[in-house]
Amino acid sequence: MNSEQLVTDVAAILAGAAPLIIATMGETITERAGVVNLSLDGKMLLGAMTGFVAGLYTQNVLIGFLVAALVGMLVALVLCVLSLSLQQSQLAVGFVLALLCTDLSSFLGHEYVRVPGVAVPNLPVPLLADLPVLGPLLFDHSPLVYASFVLVPLVWWWLSGTRSGLVVRSLGERPEAAHSRGVHVVRWRYGITLIGGALVGLAGAAYSLDLKQGWSHRHTAGLGWIALAIVIFGGWSPWRVALGCYVFGALQIAAIRWQSALGGFPTQVLQVAPFALMIVILVLVNMSSSPAVRRHVDRLPGVLRRPLHALFDRLAVAAPAALGKPFDP
């Protein structure tokens, strides 16, 4: 493979992962605030459908995105009311919403299947796009891809470097403590979940208005569950989650590219590799924190011990402690 092809491929991976990044960032902040929103898959479909239809009627992609974000927020609001205010299980509500919104998008979007619509234009950044390597890699994309580039460091900075980000993390780790410091836990969680919902809705529209232009039944079905899994795979850290999205995108391209190279091996299987990997990593994480394994490792010679320790430390992630738990002040 020549270097030019490599640049094109990496650029394709970066662009292809953009909607997933937007969705996973939405779910990451939601979960960091201690709320599990399982409804991603349905919410994304509903966002994709409504965004596409709104764009079609107004001939304006911006309105399409706006509508998709609002729809995402609306679905998130249902989750908030039922689980944060009325104390029903977040898992149950999110799960029901996922299935409900999927069917709803199919039913309401029936008229708009494979109708030509509006789409986001490509927008190379002047001058920068002509740079060798970096130009095609980073600066010759649609605005959504730039948004995905900005979103990851933004979320990271917000969560780790700002006061409000600190509050969000405390909501996920020790809501009682936050409460006693005068933070209105439920209200904050409402806010974050709504923002997360809007991002997921946008991600849906990013498919129907850009990456997989148009609408069809179950247009993005499955991608929401994948996004959800990637958030876990990424250990709720924006950088790792983004990495997960790119790994997933790369494997999808590998599945296409290797079809003839691998002879009879069905490369469709490669699509599930990230999930097998996710489970292996989760197991490794578990092992690394188990005292028995630690003891074994400690007995190894230093050459082996140090990299293993480093690996374990790096792997060690834990879900936000209060994730999915109801909060009753």
Partner: protein, 355 residues
């Protein structure tokens, strides 16, 4: 005395009244959705609710859908009782189906009865092993069963993809549409003229009763429910809660695996990557609706199967997309959750008032 019977009535009212109210709410919602696309609501409802009852063939199809759904719902009752959200049930159904295919492909010449027994055994084993993997991750890996289950669902699909497009593909083709269909002789026998293999719903019914008995009539069930209410507290009362969780998962896996076996042996007669057909997810909805009470499962499963089979009539007779059936199912559970939340808040408020 008065107070006690009043309380009983109130409870009755809740158990019956809430679902009926929820149904009304869900109907209101779907009516709005139907009106939104310009469809008069009455004819679709008629087909959804009564479409199935119009012919023995459809009634039979409904029972064949209800059978695996019942098995999965029974299984989920066990895990819910243990306080586990077994989202991985889809994968357990799929791996059950994969395991069930093994004897069917390798020893089709066995006498049918022996072959079926073997097939069901293998299916149960497959589902159980997949569930145990999740349980192991949960109990020893401290990996939430939802996350592990979600990942394992995808992996299970990967396994079928590999088999269907790889070693088990049909001669001369490579398609995700499935393996060579099973020989008529080794399919589960059906009633003449119907697709109903009576063994399937019968098995599901027997196992439902077994689950009810285990949960409600045995010490084991009591300790399982204690685990679900509060695992830490249960441990203090000498309930081996970790063990109970693993047992509940294993039991659910067995039932899911049997559901997968039925999908292969009596419904599709082939292995496809979509062999579970979302049965596990639908069963999760059922279980959320009945709050894991084993005796309420049967009517709800029948109702859900009725809607699912009835909804296929919609495009045929009314040119309406059949996904409205799913909208109704989802809205029903959502309304139920809403009402439960309101009712809990209301009774809480009353307690405070009384204090």
């Amino acid at each position: 005395m008065q107070g006690r019977s009043g309380k009983l009535w109130a409870q009755w009212g809740l158990v019956l009244g809430l679902p009926l109210l929820a149904l009304l709410g869900a109907l209101a919602f779907t009516t709005l959705v139907l009106l939104a696309v310009g469809s008069p609501p009455y004819p679709p409802y008629w087909l959804l609710f009564a479409g199935v009852l119009s012919s023995p063939v459809r009634l039979a199809d409904m029972l064949m859908l209800a059978a695996p759904l019942l098995l999965c719902s029974s299984g989920l009752t066990l895990t819910f009782a243990a306080g586990l959200y077994n989202l991985g049930i889809e994968g357990q159904v799929i791996i059950g189906a994969v395991f069930a295919m093994v004897p069917l492909r390798w020893w089709p010449e066995l006498s049918p009865v022996a072959l079926w027994l073997l097939t069901f055994g293998m299916g149960a084993l497959g589902g159980m092993s997949w569930a145990l993997l999740t349980a192991w991750l949960r109990v020893y890996g401290r990996v939430n069963e939802i996350f592990a289950g979600l990942g394992l669902n995808f992996v299970a699909t990967g396994v079928t993809l590999y088999l269907v497009l790889g070693p088990w593909k049909r001669e001369g083709s490579a398609s995700t549409s499935g393996t060579e269909p099973l020989d008529q002789a080794i399919r589960l026998p059906t009633i003449e003229g119907l697709r109903l293999a009576p063994l399937a719903p019968l098995l599901a019914l027997v196992l439902l009763v077994l689950v009810w008995w285990l949960l409600r009539q045995t010490r084991w069930g009591l300790s399982l429910r204690a685990t679900g209410l509060n695992a830490v507290a249960a441990e203090r009362f000498a309930v081996p809660s970790r063990r109970r969780m693993i047992e509940a998962m294993a039991g659910c896996g067995v039932l899911a695996g049997l559901a997968g076996t039925i999908q292969v042996l009596a419904v599709f007669h082939t292995l496809t990557p979509s062999i579970s057909s979302g049965i596990g997810l639908l069963a999760l909805l059922v279980t959320l609706l009945v709050q894991a009470h084993p005796l309420l499962i049967l009517p709800v499963v029948l109702f859900f199967a009725l809607l699912s089979v009835g909804s296929t009539q919609l495009p045929l007779q009314l040119q309406i997309d059949s996904s409205i059936g799913g909208v109704l199912q989802g809205a029903l559970v959502l309304c139920m959750l809403l009402l439960r939340g309101l009712q809990q808040r209301w009774s809480q408020a009353r307690v405070w008032d009384n204090e």
